[in-house]
């Protein structure tokens, strides 16, 4: 399991380096696609309740813009 996690992190780190390294300067007038509502770098508002039930039915939460505390004493 530990070796698999190391591999996962190595691939993720390499992917991030490759992606961020390939950045080009984009002018404001070139951002029509980037400004599209589907390109927003966060969960959709309509996903809020999906994230809530996943938080209660699974053991992990966070790093998705959703809540990490508070909420309900669900069973």
């Amino acid at each position: 399991m530990k070796n698999r996690n190391h591999l996962f992190f190595a691939i993720a780190a390499l992917g991030c380096i490759l992606i961020f390294d390939s950045c080009v300067q984009v002018k404001e007038y070139q951002k029509n696609k980037l400004n599209d509502a589907d390109m927003v770098l966060s969960s959709r508002r309509s996903q809020k309740n999906e994230l809530n039930f996943q938080t209660y039915r699974e053991g992990s939460a966070g790093a998705n813009g959703g809540k990490t505390g508070g909420g309900c004493g669900c069973n």
């Binding site: 996690n5 950045c23 589907d38 959709r44 309509s46 996943q54 039915r57 939460a61 790093a63 004493g73």
Partner: protein, 417 residues
């Protein structure tokens, strides 16, 4: 000469007039604009779940839940004299659920199965002309067995026109009502008149079985959550952007639920007992790409680890297809897998030697699949020809877990202007 002088005077007057107009224009630009209602959002969801591993009955028993959740957000926007944009987001949520397992907080199955949660929230954000923001938020949630109060501070800074750094620090101060399974109330209890209160050896009073009545007399225990969230967003090229998110979450207090039973291998039953602290570390990565004029791929990956022994991985993909200028269809799929917490064991698997124990299957080893489809429409004449409804999102998803838990959720998201 006279003509020339008159021309010069005329030109001077013209410039003077022109400048005086400019001066007036500046005053108009930087004039304070009071807060005005810009947008209203209404999000309503219907959630239905089935399963057979309820934690109330020690990892066995009906997990049927139905939840109807509604959230209304009002967004107000205004500008001050320094041309800073102020946004206030006022929210009010209202959920009502029925849960089959709640009946068995009482050993006889007579406890109430329904509950309502109300959660108002308020957020203020100020944005300067460089696009940097600062904000404060407050949140409150109340239901029969749980109260929560939260505060947060958040800011963002544009590093350049293509990258942005965000930080958010939040704190939640919760109170868990100590409603125990009826048979686990200490034997020395003294039964009072209806509603049934019990007094424990420590001298505190408890309402047994989570039944109806006023919960205000039931003692509660605190649960605090502190979160630091950092994120960095980067434009990669004209059709690709990504963000990296890191949360550090610390929890302390009563982290189990008092009405969750655990059956030991000797047949005895106990109240779930979990450590009073937990550290969570999730790292997320989001990558969105405009792959053609009609198709956007949204992807999300997360790695999570905590000190209770859970490691999880999440991969989420959504393909948004622009059917027309005002309509898009978005099929999506999410895969999730986690290892078990070291404190989890199924029904009758814990032993008396265990210091901490839980049979809550959200802490078990599991894999889940969530598949569904979304639709977004924003016609220029308004949704259903109503000019005030500017957009409508509908999402349906089916969720299945390797623990045999299955659920369906449908969400409607209306935007009014």
């Amino acid at each position: 000469m006279k003509k020339l002088s008159l021309t010069v005077i005329g030109l001077y007057a013209l410039f003077l007039h022109a400048f005086s107009q400019n001066s007036g224009l500046d005053t108009v630009i930087y004039k304070t604009k009071p807060l005005a209602l810009e947008e209203i959002n209404l999000v309503s969801s219907y959630y239905s779940q089935s399963g057979n591993h309820s934690a109330v009955t020690g990892g066995i028993g009906d997990e049927h839940v139905v939840d109807f959740a509604n959230g209304l957000d009002l967004k107000f926007v205004g500008w001050d004299q320094n041309h800073n944009k102020h946004s206030i987001l006022a929210g009010l949520g209202f959920d009502h659920h029925t849960s089959a397992s709640s009946a068995y907080v009482s050993a006889t199955g007579a406890s109430k199965t329904g509950g309502t949660r109300i959660y108002p929230s308020l957020d203020w954000t100020v944005e300067n002309d460089k696009g940097n923001t600062f904000g404060l938020g407050a949140y409150f949630s109340t239901e029969y067995n749980y109260q929560s109060f939260g505060l947060d501070v958040h800011f963002s800074k544009k590093i350049n026109s293509n990258s942005e750094f965000n930080a958010k620090f939040s704190a939640y101060f919760d109170q868990v009502k100590l409603i125990y399974p009826s048979e686990l109330i200490p034997k020395s209890s003294v039964v009072s008149s209806t509603p049934t209160y019990y007094t424990t050896a420590s001298g505190r009073s408890y309402l047994s079985g989570g039944g109806g009545g006023d919960a205000s007399g039931i003692p509660s225990s605190p649960r605090n959550t502190f979160t630091g969230s950092l994120s960095y967003a980067q434009v990669i090229n004209t059709s690709l952007q990504a963000s990296l998110m890191l949360d550090l979450v610390g929890q302390s207090g009563y982290l189990g639920l008092p009405f969750h039973r655990v059956y030991f291998n000797d047949g005895s039953d106990h109240i779930e007992n979990l450590p009073s602290s937990r550290i969570k570390l999730p790292i997320g990565f989001r990558l969105n790409a405009f792959v053609s004029d009609q198709v956007v791929i949204r992807s999300y990956f997360r790695y999570y680890q905590d000190d209770w022994g859970i490691q999880s991985k999440t991969a989420d993909f959504e393909i948004s297809i622009k059917v027309s200028q005002f309509l898009s269809i978005s099929p999506y799929y999410r895969y999730y897998t986690q290892t078990a917490s070291k404190y989890f064991a199924p029904y009758k698997a814990h032993t008396a030697a265990d210091a901490y124990y839980s049979s809550n299957y959200s802490l078990s080893e599991l894999t889940s699949h969530f598949v569904g489809i979304g639709m977004h429409t924003a016609p220029p004449q308004g949704v259903m020809n109503n000019q005030h409804i500017t957009s409508l999102d509908i999402r349906y998803g089916h969720y299945s877990q390797s623990t045999d838990l299955n659920s369906n959720i449908i969400t409607f998201d209306f935007t009014f202007k």
